[in-house]
């Protein structure tokens, strides 16, 4: 895994957070701005609408006033209050009207006969009467404060009202009608006159009643309107000529001391000019504008709201009122608002970002700590505790982690302890094994020593056994008897004994079998031999006393030796052809000269020696007579009880048979024949017991 390709948790938490905040703040800002724009537009339009309405109202009021005056004068004529035959009589009436209707600048009547009477309202606030005389000259008089004709001021000859536009237009229209706008020379101003034909009761046309309206007053009114901060309004004819404007310039220019109408396109006011240009561009023909239109355009990058509406009074006035307001007038506040919004958004963004980073840090810190701790645990450092956290879920995670770490530690500790215990146990076992091994080694050594000792003992015993055997020459020295003895110790067993002693013509033959083997057996044999020789030397002839004494001697010695050994023993005493047999042993074979064998059971002649203290009662003896060529054969159980390979015993019968067959030979040959036959029988079988054989043949 490449860590650089992974996204850090902190970045993952912070980035979307900040992006969202950016998005939300941006959207809010944008919508706020859009709303501001829309609000500005609505506000501007509302303002323009109101201004337009006020202009319409005011203009209607202006334009209605002349009509009202004309109507009043017509009524007065009809009622006979004014006399068409005496025009100067109308003067006070006109004056009174001028006092009431201050918007008008001239009230007049021109008769179809060319007579004229009128009241002029001068710019300086004074009034003047103008009346034609009989010559047709127009006489101008001042007017005093009571409306009476004052001093004569001037006269203008050849004045015919019937040539004036205010007379011609309504006469031709045959109804009330406005003159076109015309310029006054003195004072220089623009004016417009509403004329109304007058018919008498007979329906005969009598002349034109007319009232003037100065247009300068409209401009004054327009200037009085507050349209935003720098909004402008102006009124113009569909021809493009200005009628009134809220700008400082006048709607006409003086050329050669004569006022001349000013076209909007010629205005010195840039805004007026631009607006007019936009309108003419937009509508192509101003005449086509019928309804109110609200539009917007730009001047030098600045957005302008513009409203144009027609003003029409059905008497010939057909004007356009234009209101134009720069967006900047409203935008100042909106811009300030927008700026505030942006600042607030930035502040919110900053705070949210900081909060986001803080929150992310708050969340990621424990996660980071946890991940580091996990890594540490994975690396084997189990002593990890991530502490407490105030975020519930994180805290649960942290506490779970702590518990798991604790459990891990405990498990590891337990494992370590177990391992330790195991090691201790292994050590203990090893120690025990070592001890046992040492013991075994020791025992082994002991055994070896024992074996050596036993071996040595056996050797000693064997040597004793061999040493105390009668020498062949001893046997040869015995007169009248042919004696052959044989003894072969077994590998392990042994304890056979035989001896042939001679004193005073008495030959004592002892044969025995000591149980067991080793030193004890050897000693027992030696003791037995000594005791027998002792008893023989003291010439003990009583078999019972002989064996009883011998038994007691051996028994007590065996008791002292703390031994459990004993022996069978037969004692044969030969003297002058008579053999006395006593002691319990194998059957004694008495062989007659022809080879016939008599088996003498010795079971009732004694008991084993060394077993019991007193065996006197069980000792007996039997006497056998020997003739020349007769003999006696004694042996130990090693011969009849020898096994062949099939565990068959050699047996006494076979022994008797081989002795019988060879009895014609001398003792040595007979002995050899028996041994050869026995060896042939045993074959490769182990020899379990000592083999002893003694042949005694009387010559």
């Amino acid at each position: 895994m490449n860590p650089s390709k992974n996204i850090s948790l902190r970045l993952l938490l912070i980035l979307p957070f900040i992006l969202q905040i950016f998005g939300a703040v941006g959207l809010v800002g944008y919508l706020s701005f859009q709303n501001g724009q829309k609000a500005v537009e609505e506000l501007a339009n509302q303002l323009m609408l109101e201004v337009g309405e006020r202009i319409s109202e005011r203009l209607n009021l202006y334009l209605e006033t002349p009509h009202l005056v004309n109507q009043l004068n017509e009524d007065a004529i009809d009622l006979g209050q004014l006399d068409l035959e005496d025009l100067p009589s109308m003067e006070p009436h006109f004056w009174r009207q001028s006092q009431v209707f201050n918007l008008i600048s001239y009230i007049q009547f021109g008769s179809n006969r060319g007579e004229f009477v009128g009241l002029a309202v001068n710019d300086d606030g004074t009034f003047a009467y103008q009346v034609t005389d009989f010559t047709g000259a127009l006489q101008t008089y001042a007017i005093d404060e009571q409306g009476r004709r004052g001093k004569f001021l001037q006269t203008s000859p050849n004045f015919d009202p019937r040539r004036r536009p205010w007379y011609i237009v309504p006469q031709q229209a045959d109804r009330p009608a406005w003159t076109p706008i015309y310029a006054w020379v003195n004072p220089p101003t623009l004016a417009i006159t509403l004329g109304q034909p007058y018919y008498d009761k007979t329906g005969k046309f009598q002349g034109i009643l007319a009232t003037d309206l100065t247009i300068a007053q409209i401009s004054d009114f327009l200037r009085s309107l507050k349209i935003g901060k720098s909004g402008k309004t102006f009124i113009l004819e569909r021809s493009g000529l200005l009628i009134a404007t809220s700008s400082t310039e006048s709607p006409f220019i003086i050329k050669n001391k004569t006022p001349e109408r000013l076209a909007a396109s010629e205005s010195r006011d840039m805004m007026t000019r631009s607006t007019f240009k936009y309108l003419t561009d937009y509508f192509e023909n101003l005449a086509s504008i019928n309804s109110r239109q609200q539009l917007s355009f730009t001047i030098a990058g600045q957005r302008q709201f513009v409203q144009v509406m027609s003003i029409n009074d059905r008497r010939g006035v057909d004007w356009l009122s234009v209101v134009v307001v720069p967006e900047s007038d409203f935008m100042e506040q909106i811009d300030a608002n927008t700026q505030t919004t942006i600042l607030l958004c930035l502040a919110a963004l900053g705070i949210a970002t900081i909060l986001g980073i803080f929150t992310a840090h708050w969340i990621t810190k424990p996660v980071l700590r946890l991940s580091q701790a996990s890594e540490a645990i994975a690396a084997g450092k189990l002593e990890q505790n991530v502490g407490k956290y105030r975020v519930n879920e994180i805290d649960i995670l942290a506490q779970s982690f702590n518990r798991m770490a604790q459990q891990l530690r405990e498990s590891f500790a337990k494992l370590a302890k177990t391992t330790e215990q195991l090691e201790i146990r292994v050590k203990e076992r090893t120690a025990q094994l070592a001890a046992a091994n040492a013991e075994i080694t020791q025992l082994n050594e002991k055994l070896q020593t024992e074996n050596l000792r036993l071996g040595a003992e056996l050797d000693v015993a064997r040597q004793i056994q061999q040493m105390i055997l009668p020498k062949p020459e001893e046997l040869e020295d015995i007169e009248g008897l042919d004696i052959a003895g044989f003894m072969e110790p077994a590998d392990e067993m042994g304890g056979d004994y035989y001896d042939v002693l001679q004193i005073d013509g008495i030959v004592t033959l002892g044969i025995g079998d000591v149980t067991g083997h080793g030193l004890e057996s050897g000693l027992l044999m030696l003791m037995t031999q000594t005791a027998v020789r002792t008893l023989q030397q003291i010439r003990e002839q009583d078999p019972v006393r002989f064996l009883d004494t011998l038994n007691r001697t051996i028994y007590h010695n065996v008791q002292r030796m703390n031994s459990d050994k004993n022996l069978t023993l037969a004692i044969l005493n030969y003297s002058e052809g008579r053999v006395s047999i006593s002691g319990q042993h194998e059957e004694t074979l008495v062989v007659r000269a022809g080879g016939h064998i008599e088996r003498i059971d010795t079971m009732d002649l004694g008991l084993p020696i060394g077993l019991d203290d007193d065996i006197a009662d069980f000792i007996d003896h039997t006497i056998v007579e020997l003739h020349p060529g007769d003999g006696v054969v004694v042996y130990t159980d090693g011969i009849p009880e020898a096994f062949d390979l099939e565990k068959k015993q050699y047996g006494l019968d076979r022994l008797c048979k081989i002795i019988s067959q060879n009895w014609q030979h001398n003792a040595q040959e007979i002995k050899q024949a028996v041994i050869d036959d026995l060896r042939a029988f045993i074959g490769k079988q182990k020899v379990f017991d000592d083999i002893t054989l003694v042949i005694l043949k009387q010559q």
């Binding site: 079998d513 149980t515 067991g516 459990d564 059971d601 077993l611 019991d612 009849p640 009880e641 565990k647």
Partner: protein
């Protein structure tokens, strides 16, 4: 005794010595030619243990013991001699005439312990 002693057995390749507590009989089977007193000790211990429990009658069945060497006879003789001091145990020895060593050796046992009942068939 509520609990019956299990049949005890001392066994080797050539012989089996088996004790049946029910009949207080020890059966000797096979050929016994162990090397001396030490090797006969387990058998001697078994016999002495039985005698220690003082049964009214104790039977040694030697009829299937084809051979017993001199050490074995010595062990038996000593056991029988030991019984002289323990009155009240009727020792019965079962022997066979067909086995050569038994005819003479078993009579010795009777000499050591006159109360011994020797049944040879």
């Amino acid at each position: 005794m509520l609990t019956r002693m299990a049949i005890e057995e001392i066994k080797d390749k050539d012989y089996t010595v088996q004790y049946d507590p029910e009949s207080s009989t020890v059966d000797f089977i096979g050929l016994l030619s162990l090397g001396g007193t030490k090797e006969y000790a387990p058998i001697a211990d078994l016999l002495n243990k039985i005698a220690a429990s003082k049964p009214d009658q104790m039977t040694l069945n030697l009829r299937k013991l084809e051979f017993l060497n001199s050490s074995g006879i010595s062990m038996l003789s000593k056991f029988v001699l030991g019984l002289r001091k323990k009155k009240g145990i009727q020792l019965v020895v079962l022997g066979s005439n067909e086995i050569p060593w038994q005819g003479k050796s078993l009579k010795n046992l009777q000499k050591f312990l006159p109360s011994l009942k020797l049944e040879i068939e």
